[in-house]
């Protein structure tokens, strides 16, 4: 890992100005994605700007129609939060199955969405639940936020400050894990409310995607049987030593079924 300058300002403005003052500055949250990338020399930022001293980024607020989760909330915090467990149990359960205890106690929701790893769980949770990403300057709907792998509309000096999750009638997340890393090989978030049904898939493709055919079928008949016969095409799905594209496509259907069943 190459040398870098470390900053730990105590305000959002301080973070932004530190980023602007750097050649190639990066925000550091839990470091669970950024540090491995730096260790492999796939990134060599000149400056790391830590969020650890910025107050107010780790709050979880119940706004009635939605939960606002601060960008620096760790996965462990979300998993254990009584508000999240009561209001969106699928989200708490999802966070509780990210990686391992060390990862869950360091990694943050802000870091996860900003990184947009194609095998991460939060992208499916955000898109599936119809969340809004809040930054220091704007609000972006999940459908617009998550591009192909590692791509987001965030500017270089833009900070995610929170994610707002609408309260839905029912939701569940089913995940097939990579046995080594515990990342998603296929993770499906199914959410249902008055607007209809959303089905978001992570791990299988080059980025999170929705399955319109499943959403339509579930809107008609919210049952596992309704999606059992619907398969996504394996074209363009990821393939690695754990799962080829065909197997991933199969798992998407199985996980979708299980998520629907778990929705009750």
């Amino acid at each position: 890992m190459d040398d870098f300058q470390y900053h730990a300002p105590s305000s959002v403005d301080g973070v932004l100005s530190a980023l602007r003052g750097a050649d190639d500055g990066k925000v550091l949250a839990g470091g669970m994605s950024l540090l491995p990338v730096m260790k492999l020399a796939m990134a060599a930022p000149s400056d790391l700007v830590s969020l650890r001293n910025v107050p107010g980024l780790s709050d979880i607020e119940d706004h009635g129609h939605c939960l606002k989760i601060g960008a620096c909330c760790t996965h462990a915090q979300v998993a254990a939060s009584s508000v999240v467990r009561e209001r969106i149990p699928a989200l708490a359960a999802m966070a509780g199955r990210i990686g391992d205890p060390q990862v869950r106690n360091r990694g943050t929701i802000g870091g996860s969405v900003a990184h947009n790893d194609p095998a991460a769980d939060y992208p499916a949770a955000c898109v599936g639940l119809g969340a809004t990403i809040i930054t220091d300057r704007r609000k972006i709907s999940s459908d617009d936020f998550f591009g192909s792998m590692f791509e987001t509309p965030l500017e270089d000096d833009e900070l995610v400050t929170a994610v707002c999750f609408p309260i839905v009638d029912g939701a569940a997340y089913a995940k097939f894990e990579n046995p080594a890393s515990k990342y998603a090989v296929a993770g499906v978030m199914v959410a249902r409310d008055s607007d209809g049904v959303r089905v978001a898939v992570t791990g299988a493709g080059a980025g999170v995607f929705r399955v319109a055919e499943m959403e339509a079928a579930l809107a008609d008949d919210f049952s596992a049987d309704a999606v059992a016969g619907i398969s996504v095409s394996s074209d363009g799905l990821l393939s690695d030593n754990v799962a080829g594209a065909e197997y991933r496509a199969h798992l998407v259907t199985v996980m979708a079924k299980r998520a629907v069943e778990a929705c009750g």
Binding site: F176, N178, A180, Y183, G244, L251
Partner: protein
């Protein structure tokens, strides 16, 4: 329980807490990387990023000029030192010796695997060395790679070594080919199998490290290294590589965090660090990180085999023929050549009376990391093949899986197998019965039905196996090509006030020798457990030794210590006789006291020791002091055996395999410390389960390691394992005085076929008959798909 034995039953057989754990559990272990010498420099080893290339120019000038850099050396700088040697010479069928290319410490002219060392950069700090190494400009002129057994043996394959046509190192055989083929031809039934025993990464928790040091005033070199066998390293490094006499080369293997075989070999790093320290006359330290370990620690297994078993109408095995290709990697590591031959082919009798057996093995060079011993080393590969084949035989004949094993068990001992080994003792029925009982084998159908009601396919699998530990005797292994003896050394020093230091040539890197060996000495010498300390790991402290591998430490090293104790007692008897004014023959020794037979007149071992060191009233002509050394060369291997039973549940939708139960019934010989024995079994079982279900070291066609980190190489974790149901039935080894066998490798040998047999059993209702390791979800799903497509 520490301190006072086991409620009067003696120290042997007591689950005493491990002496070494106080320092390990409080972070006070002293590992190689914990050692820092005054004036120490740091090395970074620059490793090849390609699997096969001619080395064009290697420009080190920018690195040499970088901040803090003291030296940069490449292969040609070390050209004059000897190659890294191989410990075992194998002969091919036609009597010709194996192809044994020179293994330079650093690449000269060519690189042959990703991870091969191209240069060493030495600097004041570790970061400076690493940053400078990035400035070295290497012109790799890439060549096509032979990255797998199939690729290396294909027509027109790229050659790893010009002198090894077809990439063949040797073409070895054991057993009587004609007899085995005739038996199979004449058999009522035959079954055949093709199996892959996949490559594994050993993954000891402590990555390797080394510190070279040189004292110009004495000319003495010291190497601190993460080794399982410091004297062996001294022998190979001193005599073969650097040409240093023993008294000028000290090897220290301090606390070592696991080895599993990957810390047996003499590595190029050890030679490079020692040599560099000499050149610079300053200590130089190198510590591997995990990524580096993945491409530089020796790896294990990697066989492709085809085999046929012939049997009669009653399911009695009449002949077995096995043909194996074994991947040796790009260079011959220390025991690379013997693992797939003398530790593999000779295991094919298993616990069965098969009268005609033949095994042939091609040792093959590939552009991959060298392969060497890994927990079990050859024996897991043989056991897996045999136990899969036996299950196939049962399926083919309709004979029950347990019954066909029982029909073929060896029951008369000693038993001479057709593949060289002679088993001294065993009771295979007893461990089988115990395992069936403990696993509730007969109640399985109910469990299968209950699982089916939950949509799961449940299966049960069994393996009955033997292993061979404590490879010996030296004269025999020497005649088979071993370039070292396989005895062990123990010294027992009774101090003047009766406390005891024990010096062993074995090395403990997790096995608990400091406890087990102290128990043996405390019991046999009649002193307190706390009064005994065990010293290992330093060639300047210990007379000699061969180290720890192949489950040999207790059977060979423990016996050497036991024999040294007997010599101490013999001398003590003379001293006691003198003090008690009795004749030596009338002195009896028990519980630490020398007693005149039939009287209550006695002297304790403490009094005798004090007399030996303050010999005022002392037998004439007897040397003072109370310290004895024994070299012990066993007459034979020891033969642990047992039965393992595994139960799995398969999710037919995803192919996921959940291991729900593992039962072991093992005969590991006399048990000194049951807690340590069970711990070794647990670790071995976890290792074997890792192979059966999770671990797979994969290279791509270019020879790049695909699974080079824990993000994609799956190690078994606690959550992957059920509670182990461990049971013991013990028979004693007949040719060592302690009656001990060995336990460190049992789990990784016995359990993989039990797990795979269980997976196949679970899937058999769907028509699946075969499953490769690891039985990953995708593989299982594909097998189910294929079976359904056939319907």
């Amino acid at each position: 329980m520490s301190g006072n034995g086991s409620n009067g039953t003696g120290f042997i057989g007591a689950s005493l807490k491990r002496k070494e754990d106080a320092r390990f559990l409080t972070g006070r272990g002293r590992y190689t990387d914990d050692i820092n010498l005054p004036g120490q420099l740091y090395a970074h080893l620059l490793r090849s990023t390609v699997a096969h290339a001619n080395l064009g120019s290697v420009d080190t000038s920018a690195a040499e000029a970088a901040p803090g850099v003291q030296a940069v050396f490449t292969g040609p700088d070390m050209e004059d030192v000897g190659g890294i040697p191989t410990g075992w010479l194998i002969h091919s069928k036609d009597g010709s010796p194996m192809v044994e290319p020179k293994h330079p410490a650093m690449a000269i002219g060519k690189v042959r695997h990703v991870g091969e060392i191209v240069a060493i950069v030495v600097a004041e700090t570790r970061d400076q060395a690493r940053e400078a190494a990035a400035l070295i400009d290497i012109d790799y002129q890439e060549l096509p790679a032979a990255a797998s057994l199939e690729a290396a043996r294909a027509d027109g394959a790229p050659l790893v070594w010009d002198e090894a046509a077809g990439n063949l190192c040797y073409d070895w055989e054991v057993g009587d080919r004609a007899a085995a083929e005739a038996a199979i031809d004449g058999a009522a039934h035959t079954v055949s199998i093709d199996v892959v025993n996949q490559r594994l990464v050993p993954n000891a928790i402590e990555p390797r490290a080394a510190i070279g040091n040189f004292d110009p005033t004495t000319g003495e070199y010291t190497l601190y290294t993460t080794s399982q066998n410091p004297h062996l390293i001294r022998l190979l490094l001193g005599a073969f590589v650097l040409g240093l006499p023993e008294h000028k080369l000290r090897i220290v293997a301090p606390d070592v965090g696991g080895g599993f075989g990957s810390k047996i070999p003499h590595y190029a790093e050890e030679a490079i660090l020692t040599w560099t320290a000499g050149r610079l006359a300053r200590p130089v330290k190198w510590t591997s990180d995990r990524s580096e370990a993945f491409v530089s620690d020796t790896q294990g297994r990697d066989h492709i085999s085809t085999a046929t078993l012939g049997f009669d109408e009653d399911g009695r095995f009449v002949g077995l023929k096995v043909s194996t290709q074994a991947n040796l990697g790009a260079y011959l590591s220390t025991f690379a050549t013997c693992v797939p031959t003398y530790l593999y082919g000779i295991l094919f009798a298993g616990p069965y009376t098969t009268p005609a057996i033949y095994c042939e093995v091609e040792g093959v060079f590939t552009n991959t990391v060298p392969v060497d011993a890994l927990r079990g080393a050859g024996r897991p590969e043989a056991t897996y093949l045999l136990e899969r084949l036996v299950d196939k035989a049962a399926a083919a004949t309709g004979i029950d899986r347990v019954d066909i094993r029982r029909r073929n068990f060896i029951r008369e001992f000693p038993y001479q197998t057709p593949v060289a080994l002679q088993y001294d003792q065993g009771d295979y029925d007893a461990t089988l019965d115990l395992a069936l009982e403990a696993s509730d084998w007969d109640g399985f159908e109910a469990r299968r039905n209950e699982a089916a009601s939950r949509g799961k396919l449940r299966g049960i699998g069994i393996s009955t196996f033997i292993e061979a530990c404590g490879i010996a005797p030296s004269a025999v292994v020497g005649s088979l090509g071993a370039r070292a003896g396989l005895y062990e050394v123990g010294s027992v020093r009774v101090h003047p006030t009766g406390s005891v230091s024990v010096f062993t040539g074995t090395h403990s890197h997790g096995q608990g020798h400091e406890t087990t060996f102290a128990q043996i000495v405390a019991e046999t010498l009649g002193v307190d457990f706390e009064a005994v300390d065990v010293v290992h790991g330093d060639t300047n402290a210990i007379p000699f030794g061969m180290g720890t591998y192949g489950s040999r430490s207790l059977a060979v090293g423990g016996t050497a210590i036991y024999n040294a104790v007997q010599k101490v007692i013999a001398k003590g008897r003379k001293i006691a006789a003198h003090l008690l004014e009795a004749s030596e023959e009338d002195i009896e020794f028990a519980d630490g006291n020398f007693t005149v037979a039939g009287t209550d007149r006695s002297k304790s071992i403490g009094e005798v020791a004090l007399t030996a060191y303050v010999p005022h009233n002392y037998p004439e002509g007897l040397e003072p002091g109370l310290e004895e050394t024994a070299f012990y060369d066993p007459l034979n291997f020891t033969f642990p055996a047992g039965t393992h039973v595994a139960e799995v549940e398969v999710d037919p939708e995803t192919g996921e395999v959940e291991l729900v139960a593992v039962t072991g019934a093992d005969d590991v010989g006399r048990i000194i410390n049951p807690m340590i024995v069970n711990g070794q079994l647990h670790g071995g079982l976890a290792h074997g389960i890792g192979q059966a279900l999770l671990e797979h070291c994969e290279y791509d066609d270019e020879g790049q390691l695909v699974t080079g980190s824990y993000m994609n190489y799956t190690m078994p974790r606690a959550g992957d394992l059920p509670n182990f149901n461990i049971n013991h039935n013990t028979t004693h080894c007949t040719h060592n005085p302690l009656g001990v066998k060995g336990v460190g490798e049992v789990g990784s040998i016995g359990v993989p076929p039990a797990v795979i047999n269980a997976v196949v059993d679970a899937l058999s209702p769907l028509g699946v008959t075969h499953m490769e390791m690891p039985a990953t979800s995708e593989r299982v799903w594909q097998a189910i798909q294929a079976a359904q497509a056939q319907d």
